[in-house]
Amino acid sequence: MLEVLHVTLLSLRVSGTAVLIGALIGVPIGTLLGLRRFRGKQSLMRFVDITLRSIVNTFMGLPPVVAGLVVYLLLTGSGPLGPLGLLYTPTAMIITQLIMVIPIMIGVTMSAVGSVEQGVREKALSLGATDTQAAWTVLREARMGLLTAIIVAFGAAISEVGGIMITGGNIRWVTRTLTTAIVVEVELGNFALAITLGLILLALAFVINIALTVIQLRGAKR
């Protein structure tokens, strides 16, 4: 019972941290790309813009196992970051999920900001806002989209198995999460426990989505 609690809390901690850090990194980048600062007549700028967008879109569909593999190779004893000794720790798992969360945050933010950009930014500027104030106003108008980004990213992170299995190692009491525990229990034939863990996972996702949806609806009314 205690172990189930530990596993659940670790899942929340790893995915929650990944989404939080991912938002701090992804939202500003997505905003910049969405504001289309790179749009210009110069062909170099256009090239940069197109390349960046394509990279973001490609990484949004990155298989978590590949992210896990890359992080594993970086953190393994003989890898470049091996001396840090992070392999098979929750930190390694957070880094793995960050690699998949950041592109999602950038991509969804980019399209949310892009959809309100033109009208809202010019309106703000014409009403006397500075460039920075106008960018904040665009972000505020895109807030529904930002929340969507968080919901999507969290959903992807909490249900992810392959990546954290490789970099976390699925060690009992250390790096075992809801998803990796389900894998183990199924292999051991403990289907009752596996189903219980699965239901907990589903319930968690449900509760968090309800909370975010409530915020979203309230935001829409304001």
Binding site: E122, K123, S126, L127, G128, A129, R140, E141, R222
Partner: protein
């Protein structure tokens, strides 16, 4: 003194010349309308005046000083200008916050700001709308909020892009009244585009006719409308423009058959196909036929009544539909309504060939 001026201004958009050699001079305190068909470059010109776009050639002068396009200079200048876009984008928040926004970005908060917002909302007749969400308003209400946003900072120059297009008559008259009030009381200079020729004639002192990115004609409202050009008649929803066949009765007088059994007497000598225009202000409306020197009198029936505040605009079908403008007072005294019978009277010299 000119407040804003353009000199040989041109604008290119992906290889296409959208504006060519635009020379405008808008004096302090005047209302200036830009008229012209869609795609003539009116919106592009307004965007350049609001410093949202830079001209490709030529220059803009504000207060006789050429505009400097550095970020700080643009900001300082923009804060003296108010702009109302055709497609209104209000912020997803309360009406109050929307109107307070321009003050907030200038660092104005608290009681004075609140007072200014309330006063401005009163000017566009939206008292009591403060806590409503701006995205839940009707088109006319939203446009009035947009106007309040532009007015709340008491700008020296107000730019408006088709501010009353597709709005209900009540919203139109509220907006027109607010515009003429700020122009009168604060001497706010106004540059606006419009398709509504009646609005142009009643509000503005000066006008420019824009065609295909060029200024076709510029001058006082009288100069633009007294002898409407063929161009103007071709795109403007000019009221009382009819085409017909003219035949000369005697030197200086013709009869123009405009269909619907109507033959108008006109003070010109023309034969064949003509397009004529009768200014709505030149038409006298009466319940009974009147005896006067005016050569044209027709009986008709009122088919439409639009309340414009102090005045009432009527459409009268006398075989062809004429638009007539009268004061609300005389409208009430004459006890007119839709379906009432009425007589239209105007002089032969009011029938102009365009």
């Amino acid at each position: 003194m000119p407040l804003i001026e353009t000199q040989r201004l041109g604008k290119e958009h992906s290889g296409k010349q959208v504006l060519k050699d635009i020379n405008l001079r808008v004096q302090n305190g005047e209302i200036f309308v830009l008229i012209g068909p869609n795609g003539a470059g009116k919106t592009t010109l307004l965007r350049i005046l609001d410093l949202l776009d830079e001209p490709s050639s030529g220059s803009v002068l504000f207060d006789k000083t050429p505009v400097n396009y550095s970020a700080s200079a643009k900001l300082a200048l923009r804060r003296r200008i108010g702009m109302v876009f055709q497609q209104t984008a209000l912020f997803n928040t309360s009406v109050f916050n929307n109107v307070a926004y321009p003050l907030k970005v200038r660092g104005e908060n608290g009681n004075t700001a609140e007072k200014k917002v309330k006063e401005t909302l009163k000017m566009v007749q939206l008292e009591g709308f403060e806590s409503k969400n701006a995205l839940k308003l009707s088109g006319g209400e939203a446009q009035r909020v947009a106007l309040a946003q532009a007015l709340v900072t008491e700008p020296e120059l107000l730019l408006l892009d088709e501010p009353t297009a597709n709005l209900d008559p009540k919203a139109v008259s509220i907006i027109e009244e607010a515009l003429s009030r700020v122009n009168r009381e604060r001497q706010t200079t106004i540059v606006m585009t419009t398709h509504n020729m009646f609005q142009a004639q009643t509000l503005a002192q000066k006008a420019a006719l824009l065609l295909d990115g060029r200024i076709e004609k510029t001058g006082t409202i009288q100069e633009i409308f007294e002898v409407p050009s063929r161009h103007l008649a071709s795109f403007a929803r000019l009221e009382n423009v009819f085409s017909g066949v003219s035949s000369v009765v005697e030197e200086g007088t013709s009869l123009v058959d405009i269909g619907g059994g109507l033959r108008l007497e006109a003070a010109f000598t023309k034969t064949g196909e003509v397009t004529i225009y009768v200014s709505p202000k030149d038409v006298i409306l009466s319940k009974n036929p009147i005896v006067s020197s005016a050569r044209n009198t027709f009986k008709g029936r009122i088919v439409e009544v639009a309340d414009l505040g102090p005045t009432v605009r009527l459409k009268v079908n006398a075989g062809r539909v004429f638009v007539v403008q009268i004061t609300k007072r005389s409208f009430k005294e004459m006890r007119l309504n839709v379906d009432s019978e009425a007589f239209l009277t105007f002089k032969a010299s009011s029938v102009q060939a365009v």
